[in-house]
């Protein structure tokens, strides 16, 4: 996995250099955006609702025992927007979209479609990687905003209706508003942007280097997903550390 990091960075750099060309490919970006939204929006909401809910459940009971249930909104709010929203959405999108990217580009590699592009003097990085990387970099942060909102709401439902916590909506959202400011949300969005670039680059890179028929495509998909998730979780720590530094 790590031996490819150099190649992945090169692919990112070449895509970055091609960024001005994105206007030419805007239709492909829209197509990709539509596909990502279509494939993930509903599922992302369901996931986030339950993530917010379980956060409230776990912390709520413990806080209530100590008479601190007025802090629950703050805790759910911060955990969601700084950590769980970005990370869980990134993991989910690796599985849902990264895999599709690796499969699609991988099958194009195996069936010589990428060779055909090259013979038409069409750069596969511009044609295939650029629109995907741009689309996922737009889509993931937006998805995280949704995830935060739904997750906060999920936390609220549990905080109100779970008998161990049982606080009012007003108390929950007051606590949330006092503890979470715009910078915290921005913090999570920066993370999710980095994660998006990683998922896109890892998956496209894996797709492009696919060899060996249908089995090779399967291998590429698995590798793309696993490598993306591993990299996300490792990078999350260092990003958190870095952002903490910049924050306060």
């Amino acid at each position: 996995m790590f031996e490819n990091i150099g190649q992945i960075l090169i692919l990112m750099w070449r895509t970055f250099q091609a960024l001005p060309l994105v206007v030419r490919h805007k239709r492909k970006v829209f197509d990709q955006l539509f596909e990502i939204g279509n494939a993930s929006l509903l599922m992302a909401c369901v996931l986030s609702l339950f993530i917010g809910g379980v956060l409230a459940l776990q912390t709520g009971a413990a806080l209530a025992e100590r008479g601190l249930s007025s802090f629950i909104g703050q805790i759910v709010g911060l955990s969601m927007c700084k950590e769980l929203g970005p990370v869980m959405m990134a993991v989910f999108i690796s599985g849902r979209i990264g895999s599709a990217m690796a499969a699609e580009i991988g099958s194009m590699a195996v069936y010589q479609e990428i060779d055909a592009l090259k013979t038409l003097n069409i750069n596969p990085v511009h044609y295939l990687v650029l629109p995907r990387l741009v689309a996922i970099s737009i889509a993931l942060p937006i998805l995280v905003v949704f995830s935060n909102l739904v997750g906060w709401f999920g936390g609220a439902i549990v905080s109100v209706y779970n008998y161990k916590v049982a606080i009012s909506y007003a108390a929950y959202f007051n606590s949330l508003r006092s503890g979470v400011d715009f910078l915290d949300v921005a913090n999570g969005l920066i993370k999710s942007l980095v994660f998006a670039v990683i998922i896109g680059a890892v998956s496209c890179h894996q797709g492009l280097r696919t060899v060996g028929g249908p089995r090779g495509i399967g291998r590429s998909v698995t590798k793309a997903v696993v490598n993306s998730i591993v990299m996300i979780l490792i990078l999350d720590y260092f990003l958190t550390r870095l952002l903490m530094h910049l924050d306060r």
Binding site: K118, T119, I122
Partner: protein, 254 residues
């Protein structure tokens, strides 16, 4: 460069060698193709014909040797911007996510060479030429192997290449369509002196269109010559290769 009086490019291949995981697939291949020539590479399956063709368009990097297109190395940057080279793949290699029409017009639309309406017209023209009139909105998955091959040919024709590489252009076609494609290769060559390199094991095609034929076996070129010279080859394998015939029923009777 003048488009009406275009001249094909010349190719020089010198000492080309390539191996995959220790298996030598091309060993010391050298030949030259003159501008505007139809050069046919013939040989049994697995002899390295497709690999050789991929080297000629820069899809594969040789382990040793060099390939010059009009005296310029195929690997020199920007060569594909200066020369129009197209290839018809053995497997057609149409983009499965695009319609046939989008595939055929891809070169023009991606490089923004023509306005959309004109591209549509050109696509219709080329599709008609290969006997696929009206197939614009079909997906490649809805076509037979032979139809895909012809769509791939149409896609290559749209490029208006100076060098056109064909990998088994008639392998999945019925005899009538094979003749049409052969005629098209000849016509392109005559009208615009497109340099053509045709890989095939179709003897009729080879002898029908070739200016010169190279016989390749196990990654080496055994001989190069005019169709007449090649017909009189003394190599036992190629004698059999060129004379092979379905005589199964007769040998049954005897």
């Amino acid at each position: 460069m003048n488009s009406t009086q275009r001249r094909g490019v010349g190719i020089q291949v010198r000492g080309l060698r390539k191996s995959y995981d220790g298996q030598l697939v091309l060993r010391d291949i050298s030949f030259e193709v003159a501008p505007g020539e139809i050069f046919v590479i013939m040989g049994p399956s697995g002899s390295g014909k497709s690999v050789l063709l991929k080297h000629l368009i820069g899809l594969e990097k040789p382990d040793a040797g060099e390939i010059l297109i009009d005296n310029e190395s195929i690997s020199s940057p920007g060569l594909m911007d200066r020369h129009r080279i197209a290839m018809v793949f053995q497997s057609s290699a149409l983009l499965n996510s695009l319609t046939v029409g989008e595939n055929v017009g891809l070169y023009l639309s991606e490089h923004r060479l023509k306005p959309p309406a004109e591209i549509e017209k050109i696509v219709a023209e080329k599709l008609e030429l290969v006997g696929l009139a009206g197939a614009q909105n079909k997906l490649p998955s809805e076509l037979s192997g032979g139809m895909k091959k012809r769509a791939a040919l149409a896609r290559a024709l749209v490029v208006e290449p100076e060098l056109l590489l064909y990998d088994e252009p008639t392998s999945e076609l019925d005899p009538l369509m094979a003749v049409t494609v052969a005629e098209e290769i000849l016509k392109l060559n005559r009208r615009m002196s497109v340099t053509s390199v045709v890989v095939t094991h179709d003897r009729d095609l080879a002898f029908g269109i070739a200016d010169r034929i190279a016989l390749i076996h196990n990654g080496s070129i055994y001989s190069i010559g005019t169709p007449e010279e090649v017909r009189n080859t003394t190599h036992p394998l190629f004698q059999r290769f060129l004379a092979a015939d379905f005589n199964l029923k007769q040998s049954d009777k005897s």
